[in-house]
Symmetry: C2
């Protein structure tokens, strides 16, 4: 099968597949005479695995690590388990951050209830105040509020 069919089967885009090859998540494949990439079912499985992990918001680095375990089946399952635990911690931390964020935003919004002009808008005043929430902790790896950068 060629890249288009692989893309359909793994619900991805051809460009993403080529990207994964470029960054070493998918192996370089055989080519046809016309220089088209050729894939088989194992590629479908591997790509589906990757997309599944991405759906679970793992980074490509984490997935790379998982794939190393999958590729070396004699290593202990413990590594996989540990990686997953770490990832769950990241997610948990991110949830907590977002929850406190949400509270702050809601408090802020109430500030507006009274006044009705920007001139004296409580929100803007609050936001101008110097006190700031602590920055989002020693940059771990669970993204911001805005747009997961893929489709």
């Amino acid at each position: 099968m060629q890249i288009g069919e692989l893309a359909r089967r793994a619900r991805t885009q051809a460009e993403t597949i080529r990207y994964y090859e470029r960054v070493g998540l998918l192996p370089e494949t055989a080519r046809t005479q016309g220089n088209y990439r050729v894939y088989d079912d194992r590629h479908v499985a591997r790509l589906s695995f990757i997309r599944h992990c991405r759906g679970l918001d793992m980074s490509l680095e984490e997935i790379r690590a998982l794939l190393r375990f999958a590729d070396a089946p004699d290593e202990s399952c413990a590594g996989v388990d540990a990686l997953l635990e770490t990832h769950i911690e990241h997610v948990t931390r991110r949830i907590k951050t977002l929850q406190s964020l949400k509270q702050q935003l809601q408090r802020l919004r109430k500030t507006c209830a009274a006044t009705k002009e920007t001139r004296q808008c409580g929100i803007l005043n609050e936001l101008s105040a110097h006190s700031r929430p602590p920055p989002d902790a020693p940059v771990e790896h669970v993204g911001g509020t805005h747009g997961i950068r893929n489709g």
Copy 2:
């Protein structure tokens, strides 16, 4: 004051300030003879405002919108309020996504409990399965699990 002091006062980095100027969040300032940017207290206020909003995980686009309200004090506070509401929705949605993610990950981790070798690692098997969680909704704008991209 010059850029370094502004940076210290607003707890930012000079490079970030120049970046904000470049993308139009901060105005272009006067310069000294030696071509150094010159700032005053209003710049501190504006930059603190921006950093505060960033601390609340707003996008620069949202902040730009807020600044427009702040710059045009006759417009209604309602716009500010609406913007905030939208942002809160983003955050709420992201929290929900992450929570369901976490559940999936925890289920996955239990799969491992029995077997102890990757060869038959339940996690890897599960992850290879074709069923995938739905992608993270029509890309709104609250980032992934990994690393808020600033300090």
